[in-house]
């Protein structure tokens, strides 16, 4: 019965969303206080019901209720508890339910906490949020019902794809989802503001925490996903410019631009139309990403449950919501007064440059990802990959880093070139130091890597300059947030450039007892032995590694064989040291007895961990900014009252 309860909760939530949309419309027109209060309450109830439905699905998975089709096909009674839990969203139906749950709960949170927006605008915002939820409820109950029964129930489930049985992958999708769907709030705010023609600093301040929150989740999701691909795919790559990866990067780029433009709107009442546009684009990119991932129209290494029928449903929703919102934008934005304009050399100026470059990056990723479809439409086949994205993206990114250095050093309103030049002396000195060091230590590395390291060094220093001569105790928390986030960018770029510049690779076919060297390491293949896991068997290498005269350590890469379904996976063994990672893989064997040789792949990747460490720093900085902003708003509210 419990599964039917979940479906009932979904239906009621859908009905509430319809009411919320209707009343929201009415409230936005009439401005009636009672109606606005009613909309708030309905939004909260809708959130609770959606959460209830999702809770029920998790319960079904935890109970291994095999009479539910989704559980039977995606879980197994003998599966570890963590993967039973994660199984709830490790499939199409469950993840769509998570999607709509986040959408509804985010709406409920807006209804609960948002006190700054005028009632009418809030009602319009909640109405927009309900309109979107409605479409996704329809999608779930009509085309992706997670609560379908199966009769007779199988004794045991099918299990989960072995590749997905990984703690990293258990929590990477929900993080991305919170980010993707969190951007729906910004979207609804923009729609509400367009409907009410109410765009200004108050609107920006109300929207900002939501953008920040979504952005934190997106950043974490992308960072975790990159690390997962790095250790799971077994070739030491951490970003492949694959359509599925790009699908998560595009909303992130749009949201990053939005995050900065919303600050201009909040502080200086500039960039009104532009901020609205970005809010629409950010969520449009989330939806486009979901569509690309699930429709299978682009070939991706990150296989996903692909289904063209569902793809067309998502495409229809995309057309309605994004097309509708852009039409509304076209119809309304002309009547919104242009915000203030500003000087070129000012904080605003730098932020406009930041927005311009981030948008260009977004455009490059967007075109590069979708262009194979253009070729297809013309009857051609085309592959667009790292060479294009690197050639087009790296120069733009380097200029963007310079803007990131300059922005925080500039005054709002108006500053002087000479003043900027003076402040830039410190990062410039850092850049020169790094350049000289590189010329001495590593003259042979590629131009991109060199520029990346220089930029990272300069940005790391520049990001700390805003704290210079400040009373550190009285510095507002959001300033620390910005400093930490920008420092995170520098750290991450340093990791990327270091990986590109200094990685050493060693591929060899090795007999037991032989030694291979990579970078400063000597690795001896001491033994190759069979080993068994819960649902796999494996060959495992025993590599005894020594760095110089240091203490040797053992490392055990595996080649795993799963029978159900038949899959072979390389389990890389990674040794993390303070200055990088040793990445080892064992491949197939050849010959037998004493002559048996094993493919061994070794990489020494200096400072590669900085890539993900920087990513988490960025997210942490955003968290500081979020907490700081919310506390500050609350304080000023209290002062106001």
């Amino acid at each position: 019965m419990i599964a039917e309860g979940g479906l009932a909760a979904l239906w009621i939530a859908a009905a509430l969303a319809l009411v919320q949309l209707t009343l929201g419309w009415g409230a936005a027109r009439s401005g009636s206080e009672e109606l606005i209060t009613a909309v708030r309450r309905i939004a909260i109830a809708q959130g609770v019901l959606a959460a209830l439905a999702f809770g029920i699905l998790i319960l079904l998975f935890l109970n291994s209720d095999m009479s539910v089709l989704l559980v039977a096909t995606n879980s197994h009674s003998a599966k570890p508890l963590l993967y039973k839990f994660a199984g709830a969203w490790g499939n199409h139906e469950g993840s769509m339910l998570l999607w709509v749950t986040v959408l509804a709960v985010a709406g409920a949170c807006v209804a609960l906490f948002e006190r700054r927006l005028p009632g009418k605008t809030l009602a319009a915002t909640l109405g927009a949020q309900a309109a979107m939820a409605l479409g996704f409820y329809a999608f779930i109950v009509f085309a992706s019902n997670p609560f379908l029964r199966i009769d007779p129930p199988p004794p045991d489930g099918q299990g989960l794809n072995p590749l997905l049985q990984d703690p990293g992958l258990a929590f990477h999708p929900p993080a991305l989802y919170f980010g993707y769907v969190g951007l729906s709030v910004a979207f609804s705010f923009a729609v509400g503001a367009l409907v009410m023609r109410d765009v200004g600093p108050a609107f920006a301040r109300a929207m900002r925490p939501w953008v920040l929150a979504a952005w934190i989740f997106l950043t974490i999701g992308i960072t975790a996903g990159s690390y997962w691909a790095y250790y799971e795919l077994g070739w030491g790559g951490w970003w492949f410019w694959d359509p599925v990866e790009n699908a998560s990067l595009m909303p992130w780029l749009a949201a990053t631009a939005l995050l900065h433009s919303v600050t201009v709107l909040a502080t200086r009442d500039g960039l009104r139309a532009w901020t609205l546009m970005l809010a629409l684009v950010a969520f449009a990119m989330s939806m486009l990403g979901t569509f690309l991932v699930r429709s299978g129209i682009l070939v991706s290494v990150h296989a996903f449950a692909v289904d063209p029928t569902r793809g067309s449903f998502i495409l229809a929703l995309l057309g309605i919501y994004i097309g509708g919102a852009l039409a509304l934008f076209g119809a309304r934005v002309g009547t919104i007064r242009q915000g203030s304009t500003f000087q070129l050399v000012s904080r605003e100026g730098a932020l406009v440059l930041n927005n311009l470059l981030l948008s260009v990056l977004l455009g490059i990723v967007f075109i590069g990802t979708l262009y194979p479809l253009v070729a297809q439409a013309m009857g051609q086949q085309l592959s667009i990959g790292p060479p294009f994205f690197n050639k087009a993206g790296i120069p733009v990114t380097l200029v963007l880093i310079v803007a990131t250095m300059a922005g925080p050093l500039l005054k709002w309103r108006k500053d002087k070139w000479s003043e900027l030049g003076r402040k830039m002396l410190v990062p410039a000195a850092a850049a020169i130091t790094v350049t000289v060091m590189l010329l001495v230590v590593a003259p042979g590395i590629s131009l991109n890597a060199t520029l990346g390291l220089i930029a990272a060094g300069a940005l790391a220093v520049a990001s700390l300059v805003p704290l210079w001569k400040r009373n550190l105790r009285r510095t507002p928390m959001h300033i620390y947030g910005m400093v930490v986030a920008h420092l995170g960018v520098a750290v991450s770029i340093a990791g990327m450039a270091s990986d590109a510049a200094f990685t050493q690779e060693r591929l060899a076919a090795v007999r037991v007892g032989e030694v291979v060297t990579v970078g400063p390491f000597e690795a001896k293949l001491a033994e190759v032995r069979p080993t068994l896991g819960q649902n796999w068997s494996a060959v495992e290498a025993v590599l005894i590694v020594r760095k110089g005269d240091g203490k040797p350590f053992e490392i055990n890469p595996q080649q795993r064989f799963f029978t159900d379904p038949v899959t072979t996976t390389s389990e890389a063994a990674i040794q993390t040291l303070w200055d990088g990672q040793l990445y080892t893989v064992i491949g197939a064997g050849e010959g037998s007895g004493k002559d048996a040789r094993w493919q061994i792949r070794l990489w020494w990747k200096p400072f590669v961990t900085f890539i993900w460490f920087g990513g988490f720093l960025i997210a942490f900085g955003a968290l500081l900014a979020l907490v700081g902003r919310v506390r500050r708003e609350r304080r000023s509210e209290e002062a106001y009252e």
Binding site: G237, S300, V301, E348, L356, S383, F388, V396, R413, K414
Partner: protein
Amino acid sequence: MKRFLLLLTLMFAAPALADSGLPPPELAYTQLRDPAKELRAKALMETLRCLVCQGQSIADSDAEMAADMRALVRQRIEAGETPDQVRGWLIQRYGDYVTYDPPFSWLTAPLWAAPVLLIAIGLFIARRSFGKDDDESEGQEGTRA
């Protein structure tokens, strides 16, 4: 229901492994002796598409065909060919699809022009945000509607 169950079994049937299971050629999983040549070969392999994979380069694929293509690339580089010659040879066989670095043609011209175009459009839009005037307009609302 029966049809549905059948569909399920089909969905979860293990994909036929189209692999010979034979050991790969020497240079598929080992490097060239000359580090400079290996560096060139590696850079080239990163830009060549594995034809039987779901969007991976031959440099990071476990597929047999990718392994054989890596061996082919290393042998040709070893023999003194330039990366462009090897890429050209493959494009002659498979068309532009085989390279992740799409060569400039009428089809890819918009793609390569896009970044420059985007910057130009961006500058044009951004120009509107900057006041033409000086300090006088400071703090005032923009007047253009």
